[in-house]
Symmetry: C2
């Protein structure tokens, strides 16, 4: 575990502050001149990503690679202003992807200067989800520092105007459909039932006890309850891994199948839905009650990013998907962001900064995607050139290829990992041939 | 003349301010779907660049192009904080190249959305000197918005650690040598004479009157006098155009030849040197006296940029060049910057942000260079790939190819302009073939 100093603001000189960013080094397998496998940390404590990302260490021996996990600013222990980091926009405003990429660029430059045997090491960026987007972007913006990237579940197209906001809901619905044909229909029919119950005191009481909620529901809470359930199903699809895992929460193997089993086998629609919710939140049996106000991931800092530059519209129509009809409403969203954070989203900035759909000028990026993962809707699913390679993994959820190998991994994932390693091998040869 | 609103800080949300950036549009020759020729404004009022940059309008009819000249923030009328823009680091700190590139990216996005017939127009960036660097960088950082760039005299390699700081002085000396073989020797011998005169009151008086200085020299002024003269010769080489021009100052054709004629034909070394100085500052005969404290170009805002991210080391050894031995002293430079602006340089940032010498991942950039121009020492002089094309123009000074055509243009420049137009034609065809 190492910390290095970096600018709070790389792109201006109005703020001269610096802070310490954390990164983890594992040079167990490193051979002089071998590659550096660099995980571009995303929205969470970096140690969580180390646990859930086995691929780098598993590939390291073959390549004699050094493995680095770099933490994203404003997460874990990498706080620009310590406990004041979240105080107000003046302190929190430097939480952006462009600043984080610059942190990583500065770190890579530093590593190649200071780490023994790494002066000529090719660097490969790895990341999943938002970390995968960062891995893709660092190759796009800093290709002199990064010889290539593996961007898993990198939804770089999930921005306003370049991907239909319903696509995400379609994939989530399809994942449930594949687990049990009757499952999406049951979930779809739950919304009216919930809506009706929300109209009476007895109904609210009933909902509160069925979902074993921590706080008694009021009519005002109903939109939040629906939102919480919508997100629950989306998250289920996201982490539909083939073995028991503890990514966002401990769950059994194939959790969507388990959830759908509860939903379909239960005569009462709502009982089934509630049982599936309890499975998610209380698989270990240690959760006393369910809290609908708790975010699923990323916590406060990610909420802020989602309110500023990471505007990834998701909507549903209730017809082609299993969700209620929820349009994407930018102005309401903007109001909520201002209310909460005193900032307004800049919804078009990410497309300007990160090239929209026209990334053909980039090179040496692998985009891997699981076809169960709703985020795949905003990902690169087709290869764009010899060096912009898309891999779609059947029966795989959110960046399953990055996770530690498991006997239950589907063949598509085993194949993808082998292909990824071979491509990196090729890029290393090209790097050496170019004398870089 | 149009203004559009843009963020003061594109990369963070700590500062929500916006301001108006100026740009000039000429659509005289524009045909629907034709290209946009976009001048990435550099360190000065944009109207000055319009006058000195004829190439865009001269090429526009052939391509049916719209011509845009966009002003750089903190220059001309594009002041983020009006008259307070230079007040302190908190106001001035947003004067950086990365912010300026983002301004241009936002403007291009906007133009393609709002300008009639421009929705599918390929955009080509043009620029000279620092503007040429911006033209190269905008293609590197925002290739989805810019189909290609003509970067003239773009000294993107003139940064610490990637170009020898003496190279600049060598080229300047060579330019004087080519104008008159005895000229550099005379200039070289002037430094000891000046140094000696600076040691006595009578000598200082003598220098003051010979150079017709506005303020009487003191011993303390001697380093500034030497600095002023060193820069004078460097600037002479820079603007050694083959016809009378008024780029930084009005001068006759081939000013280095004129200056060297005065220097070599004068029996007294110092009289010759002083005559050459007066030629530069008083060619029109309207300057009452010479002011050694006045910067040659860019004014305050450029001084600030040169003190923050645009750290371009220049030095001389007095042996292989015609200058006194002046080492590059970063710490003294940093002190002076802090004294003046309350900021410290970040000398390595530009190499991290703009790829150092390893720009092979870029594409579609023409780097044109005049071989008389000292800045060519930090430019791309050799083609790096089929689409990173270097052109070296014999007998040409600083970005002569961008200037309006003139009967006195050397053949190399006429040829370069034709080659540039043909390459742009090819890029337009590729752009259309890709269906972008």
């Amino acid at each position: 575990i190492v910390f290095y100093p970096t600018q709070v603001d790389h792109f201006s000189f109005a703020n001269p502050d610096t802070f310490l960013l954390r990164y983890l080094v594992n040079d167990t397998y490193f051979k002089d001149g071998g590659p550096i496998f660099f995980y571009t940390g995303n929205e969470g404590d970096i140690e969580g990503f180390v646990k859930n990302t086995g691929l780098l260490m598993e590939m390291a021996p073959r390549f004699g690679a050094m493995v680095i996990f770099a933490e994203h600013r404003y997460y874990g222990q990498s706080m620009p202003y310590g406990e004041e980091s979240f105080k107000d926009p003046a302190h929190l405003g430097y939480l952006t992807s462009t600043q984080a990429l610059a942190d990583f660029a500065v770190l890579i430059t530093r590593l190649r200067k200071t780490a023994s045997g790494a002066a000529n090491s090719p660097v490969f960026a790895f990341g999943g989800s938002y970390g995968g987007m960062l891995a893709a972007w660092i190759r796009m913006k800093y290709p002199h520092l990064v010889a290539g990237s593996l961007a898993s579940a990198a939804s770089i197209f999930q921005y306003p105007g370049i991907t239909d906001c319903e696509a995400y809901s379609h994939v989530a619905t399809r994942t449930f459909q594949r687990s049990a044909a009757g499952c999406p229909g049951r979930i779809r029919s739950s919304w009216d039932i919930i809506d009706d119950l929300g109209k009476t005191g007895a109904g609210l009481q009933n909902l509160t006890s069925m979902f074993r909620l921590c706080e008694r529901l009021t009519a005002d809470d109903m939109p939040a309850l629906v939102d919480w359930l919508v997100n629950l199903w989306m998250i289920y699809a996201l982490i539909d891994y083939p073995y028991p895992a503890n990514f966002l929460t401990p769950l059994p193997a194939w959790p969507v199948k388990e959830a759908c089993h509860l939903i379909v086998s239960n005569e009462d629609v709502l009982s089934g839905v509630a049982a599936a919710a309890k499975l998610y939140f209380n698989y270990t049996g240690q959760t006393a009650c369910l809290d609908i106000s708790k975010p699923y991931y990323g916590g406060l800092a990610w909420q802020y990013q989602a309110c500023t530059e990471q505007i990834e519209p998701i909507c549903s129509d209730g017809v082609n998907d299993m969700f209620p009809a929820i349009p994407w409403d930018l102005s309401a969203f903007s109001e909520a962001c201002y209310e909460r954070w005193k900032v307004r989203p800049r919804p078009h900035w990410a497309v300007t900064e990160y090239w929209g759909r026209n990334i053909s000028a980039a090179s040496n990026i692998i985009f891997s995607n699981g076809d169960l993962d709703p985020w795949s809707a905003g990902c690169v699913l087709k290869s764009l050139s010899d060096s912009l390679v898309a891999i779609v993994m059947e029966d795989a959820a959110h960046h399953l290829d990055l996770r530690p190998s498991n006997p239950a991994d589907p063949p598509s994932v085993i194949k993808a990992r082998a292909q990824e390693a071979d491509i990196i091998e090729k890029w290393i040869q090209e790097y050496r041939a170019a004398g870089l």
